[in-house]
Symmetry: D2
Subunit: 338 residues, 4 copies
């Protein structure tokens, strides 16, 4: 529940309401953004308590519909500066550019990838050590061994590290290595994981599930935001459709609409949308012209030998060619890749 105070509410009245909540032993976060003030409660208040607050506070209090996103909404929250990642100031026109293999496999392969990624302007080196695989018989990731390799290569090439977490209990481990935490499509509504990620002071990249609605996606982000972590990066990667050409259809209008509704950055993963290396470029280009704040692309020196996602990774040379094309399109829409 969100208790949003009217703009003209007096600080004294807000303080009074705060005391009621404290007395009720309810967890809450106080959110101040521009002229708006709000208490965000990770659970519903009883109707009785709501009446009590309304009576005592004597100010215009708006109790939001719990099914509406609040903390991510441009309607309630003033547009903030872009999320700062460690010491890197992410400027408005610069693409968040994350490149890497699907899974961390070994040091040599990752180093080759990192070299190309760096050369092409990537800021972030992605790669999973805990892999969510559709089949239990597929490669499941190297675990901590992979995290160590990933960290080492990121340090060597001065790239930010982004690694995926599948389960709340793995979060401390992954978080001790990785600069950015990735939460994948299949865990978009793993609410205990989202809440735990909300307690971190690290950027969290949250991917949209291919079967979820736009609102479900924003409310999943709200789980992280309502725990106090506002470094949330949304990542679109297409939805399930009858008879698609790519695996999951990337909808450019949907991306634009997210940019209009939320102040959170929205990046696109053309590799998982395409599910096929041949369509990665087209989707990446569409994402840029639709206003994406960044891209996440899978590359591999020998895709056919990759431990996973072999169909969708670009070869290093195809990737270099694509980046040259992407830079031209960036220019046309006043974006840039470093």
């Amino acid at each position: 529940m969100v208790i949003l105070f009217a703009e003209k509410s007096k600080p004294a009245d807000i303080a009074k309401a705060k005391k009621i909540l404290e007395k009720a032993e309810v967890d809450f976060i106080f959110q101040k953004s521009g002229k708006n003030s709000a208490f965000v409660l990770p659970a519903s208040l009883s109707q009785k308590k709501i009446e009590e607050i309304k009576k005592l506070v004597k100010v215009e209090v708006i109790f939001l519909n719990e099914k509406q996103p609040f903390l991510s909404s441009l309607r309630y929250i003033e547009k903030r500066k872009k999320i700062k990642i460690l010491n890197w100031k992410w400027e408005e026109d610069l693409l968040f550019f994350a490149v890497g293999p699907c899974a961390v496999e070994n040091e040599k392969v990752l180093e080759t990838i990192a070299k190309t990624a760096k050369k092409c302007g990537a800021k972030i080196l992605r790669g999973g050590s805990f892999k969510p695989r559709t089949s239990p018989y597929s490669f499941q990731g190297l675990g901590e061994k992979g995290l160590k390799i990933h960290r080492k290569i990121c340090d060597k090439f001065e790239l930010f590290m982004m690694s995926e977490v599948l389960d709340r209990s793995d979060l401390p481990l992954v978080s001790s290595y990785s600069d950015i935490i990735q939460i994948g499509s299949r865990n978009m509504q793993n609410f205990p994981l989202l809440k735990a990620a909300g307690k971190l002071n690290k950027p969290v990249l949250l991917k949209r599930n291919f079967g979820s609605t736009r609102e479900e996606f924003l409310l999943a982000a709200e789980y992280i935001l309502s725990e106090g972590n506002d470094k949330v990066i949304l990542c679109e990667r297409g939805v399930r459709v009858f008879n698609p050409a790519a695996k999951n259809v990337f909808d450019p209008a949907s991306l634009q609409k997210f940019k209009e509704e939320t102040w959170l950055p929205v990046v696109v993963d053309p590799s998982h949308s395409a599910g096929d290396f041949r369509y990665v470029g087209t989707i990446a280009k569409s994402a840029i012209v639709a206003g994406a704040d960044g891209l996440m692309i899978e590359i591999h020196p020998e895709p056919q030998k990759a431990f996973s996602d072999d169909q969708q990774a670009l070869t290093l040379s195809d990737f270099e060619k694509l980046v040259a094309e992407l830079k031209k399109i960036c220019q046309a829409v006043e974006k840039r890749i470093e």
Copy 2:
């Protein structure tokens, strides 16, 4: 059914097969493209006749699966020159740019629209006089009166005229006015209409139904092609999806795939995909970077007063701004708007 001869087939044997078909009193078209020769039959042959041809001809004969597109396929047909529209040579890099109102309403409004369209580089003035409307209680078009206005304005501004036909029996009338015949989404599988359009010597723009598969779309085009008219222009306008942002989701990867599979030009209608003027620009831009051969955009001087589709038409000034942006993106991908 398509009887495709092996490349090495002798002309004498092909002639023999032709005689068998003639004797059988079966309708067929002889198609020669590069090294390939084929008989295209608008119906199936009996198994007995197939055996007879196989026996007599004594050459390698391939009987294609009837469910595969043949005449539109790059696999069988050598890439031809772009379709020539009247005296206008449509070059590879130039966009087919069709602009206009949803429906022809009156001369004054159409003239205002045509002026802006011409100024912005459009070659074609679109506008329906027979309108396919979801509800019987909506405006159904001006009929022949509309066609006359449309023709007059096209002549004045030297624009090609494109008008929609809903029914086989209206084809002679519309065809006597219009340079390009449009067959809409709802009629994509109106087979008698497709066959009749296949007998014209005019370009036909065929729009994909929002609920059809990619293959159904190509086979609908095949109906026109198999009657002898090879001036077919495919038009994508999105598909039905759960929880879309726009009305029908435009899939950029699908467009690319059509361009890889067929030699037919593929244009995009961002207005009907969006169903909302706010998303028209984003979809148009995505279409260009995905390789579209053209665009079809609805504009209106006062969209809120339009007789139909008031939500999706751009105002004239918004359209001029958009064209400036589209031109920049065209440059980045080596396309152009005149």
Copy 3:
């Protein structure tokens, strides 16, 4: 547009409004159902005319949203008796049971099918002589020759004849033979055909397009109703979905909802929903428990030799077994097959 008069409107005022419409030379139908009176106009009136009627009539006049179904709606039209087909009174609990091949092929095959259909309680013998086929290279139907065979067999077995029409210009021919006119999924929004069917005094079975919304389906029916033909039978046959088991997913809740919204009978075609004979039974059973008013099932003595739809037709013996099962389920929900 629909001009719905308030219940308390005086006949004199309604008569006055009628004159305004007549003077305006607008086509309209006067519809009286229970306490409601309405003028149904197959096109929109100008805002000026609307104001004129409002002023002169001086009664409460409600101008319906053109996007809402009106004539099919239980909200406006009092529940009428079931549609009478020729001399057959279709009672509430009796299933409209249409059985037959996909296409009429020859007299012998159709006779075999008709015999089984009759024996199993079918009232209607379906079978197309004009076939809407996805590919131009597939069998397109026997045309009038097929209609003659179809009529002969129907007369012999005392079954009603149902045949499909693809195009407005074929309607007089098919209508001269067939008792019930079928309009297929691909023609659901072939508006000239719908209007022409609305001028017949014969039952029209209208099938839902696999990519259409529920409202588009009802508004397609409205085209027929608004021309004066109220013998419209709706037919559900599933919608396009990602990763379906059958070809087009039959949604039992959607059927129930149609039954709640409209007084029109709603029958189900499990054969085209399934696209595979193995699922026909399950979908037929679901249709019955969901409240369907009828079923349409494809059968063939030798499905593998059928000219079309060979995968979805049931053999005669499988059909007989299925009917025995369907009868048990009918009993459980107080329906019956004759």
Copy 4:
């Protein structure tokens, strides 16, 4: 990876292969079912190891595609007896009938519900104490307090307890109270949770995600099975579709297909498929005629006061009426509710 031995493989060769795996320090499960023997490995083997086994074993060894379900497949596993739940033998024709509120709210409400459930033949009392809610501002469940109430009422009415787990780390707690563990749609691909559930010796009810394919669902079950727990119950609850009547469309043909492909019981949750109490009955009936092994239905004495899912719960009296109808349909298909 699954190493499936040819039927004629000698036990000595299988034993040899086992030693290779042990030496390779790979985790594996040996699976014997009828004439088939297989090693199931929760991860892929290197190509080198695969060659080694092939060479040494000298028997026909089939390495299954890792993307195919194996342990759930009727193709490889002989049909086993139905899953035994505690001391209750679940016979072929008896429905698994789970009834209860969405969330455990308090003892009094749950007792009222349990009384009706028991009276109507339910065997299982469902109800969540850890709730997966789309919004962080919605009621999140009572936690352990709820589990205690749930256990107490189950003991009183001799009903099996089924409760949902959202996270691997909550599994020991919930498992210490509940007889059956529920894994919800949003966690269908929470792989660490699935693996942990695979180590239990308790029935696990796994719900299909509304955006997942049929194969993804079976492979999620495979995660539980491949860890050694074969008491897996699949639960269908519909998929996302454009323009549905209910919330998630229940596809009766898909249910039938699951029954043909897997030996696992497949139950249906009409409440979550419907998302609306008015459609629960129709979907429940369709599920029974399509061959469902069970039903899961939400009921509440005062749905409008429920803490969650207030739209979809049936009132107690509506539920009683529905059960009477379901029993009649069960009879028609030789199923029964106790």
